[in-house]
């Protein structure tokens, strides 16, 4: 089976003998937006060469400063291997997306059609928010019985508020209100995080407010990094279907980004990203020394990123029993099944109304 490779080292990635080779460097890396950056490699490859088999590569995640050339791009294109680039601070910055090989004009027209009709678009957008809400509730309900006293009551109150939000969903008539409802849901949910993390962890990692660009504290840094991983994983799954990643329903299909992956990621963030964060912080696998402050923001250090990514990789291959298919399905596979469900809806909305994944375990 092909699996993702995660490159944390800096150096040059090249095509060698029809397979991949990474020539590592040992030099210090400059921030990507540093004015001293002249676009040339920070140091020469001197740290040895690692070759790895192209046949085993599903996708590449490049966290280091990696040099590539057009030969490599052609090669990755032929092999259908996408490469996801992350900047110095660990933010998702770009995808090297191989030429589309699974094209379906019919589906693309359906997708655009569903975007252009406000009614149809709203139906899909609501389905995404609804599923995200359901999974958020699921995470809350998982932690609720373990809480005590005030925390227990506060959680109860939030759950009731979320029920009201759920009631507000069918009444929304446009995307803006829907986005507002979604924002409200997340706000309420993030307020509960200190309880989920427990007193000890919460005192070290306060959750004040969700802030991005730059993330203001450790938890925000973790959420941002986790979400970047989630987007790229969804992009990879969309690529394996005929869906057009740029036409989205909940998010505006902007230029220069794969908006559809943002839509689908909404559903998976609570179950993949958030639970990964709780786990890593509660076990102490990630602690204060894994964060760095730069330019008024807080970021995961290289070591911290590596821990997160390793955990992420394991998590994606975890399986649950799928009732309808009656077999075990990995979390990563669930993302693909979500794409297939979307395709069915787009082809025949009356017969196969899309309903986002509801965690059943």
């Amino acid at each position: 089976m092909k699996r993702p490779y995660y490159l944390f080292s800096s150096g040059r990635l090249k095509r060698q003998h029809n397979t991949l080779a990474l020539e590592k460097t040992s030099g210090e890396r400059l921030p990507d937006d540093s004015p001293e950056d002249e676009g040339v490699p920070s140091s020469l490859p001197d740290g040895g060469r690692t070759q790895f088999p192209i046949e085993s590569v599903d996708s590449l995640f490049l966290f280091g400063e990696i040099d590539i050339n057009s030969k490599l791009i052609t090669f990755l294109g032929q092999q259908g291997v996408p490469a996801f680039f992350f900047d110095y601070y660990g933010n998702y910055s770009a995808t090297l997306y191989p030429r589309e090989n699974l094209l379906s004009g019919r589906l693309r027209i359906q997708q655009a059609h569903h975007y252009l009709s406000p009614k149809r678009r709203l139906t899909l957008a609501k389905a995404f928010v609804e599923a995200a809400l359901f999974n958020i509730e699921r995470v809350i309900k998982y932690y609720q019985p373990r809480l005590e006293g005030d925390a227990q009551q506060e959680t109860q109150a939030t759950l009731q508020a979320l029920v009201r939000d759920r009631g507000a969903l069918p009444l929304t008539t446009d995307i803006f209100t829907l986005m507002a409802v979604e924002g409200r849901i997340r706000d309420r949910y993030y307020k509960l995080w200190p309880h989920f993390l427990g007193k000890e962890v919460a005192s070290k990692f306060p959750m004040n407010k969700r802030e991005r660009r730059p993330p203001s504290n450790e938890l925000n840094a973790l959420i941002s990094f986790g979400n970047s991983l989630c987007y790229s994983t969804v992009v990879r799954q969309i690529y394996r279907t005929a869906l057009d990643p740029t036409i989205a329903f909940l998010h505006e299909p902007g230029d220069r980004r794969f908006s559809l992956s943002l839509d689908i990621a909404e559903i998976f963030k609570p179950l993949l990203v958030d639970r990964a964060i709780f786990r890593l912080l509660k076990t102490g696998e990630i602690n204060s020394k894994h964060f760095e402050k730069h330019l008024g923001g807080c970021y995961l250090s290289d070591a911290g990123r590596k821990i997160f990514v390793q955990h992420w990789d394991e998590r994606l291959s975890k399986t649950v029993h799928h009732r309808a298919l009656d077999k075990k399905v990995s979390y990563e596979r669930l993302i693909r099944l979500e794409c297939y469900k979307l395709i069915r809806h787009l082809s025949d909305p009356a017969g196969n109304t899309y309903q986002g994944l509801h965690m059943w375990w």
Partner: protein, 87 residues
């Protein structure tokens, strides 16, 4: 997913070509020794390609294990190859 350990002993004239072929599919461990996961079809194409390269008294052996979980790896001395996906 089947896990393979592959070893070959081929004439020096073809050893380079064999190395390049195997590197595409499996992870290099030591001289003429490779290991890694392959799907059935990947294994078949590796087998075919290796077979086409071979001549005279060349030999290739694949040890197939049902899953990587069944591998107990005991290694002495320096590990020459990099087997991780986290580089």
């Amino acid at each position: 997913m089947p896990y393979y350990i592959a070893v070959y002993d081929v004439n020096q004239k073809r050893v380079g070509r064999m190395l390049k072929l195997f590197r595409r599919y499996l992870t290099w461990i030591q001289n003429s020794v490779f290991e890694g996961e392959l799907t059935h079809s990947q294994f078949k194409s590796l087998e075919t390609e290796a077979d086409q390269l071979m001549k005279d008294s060349d030999g290739v052996i694949f040890y197939q294990l049902r899953d990587e979980r069944y591998v107990d790896r005991i290694s002495l001395g320096e590990e020459k190859g990099e087997r991780s996906r986290f580089l």
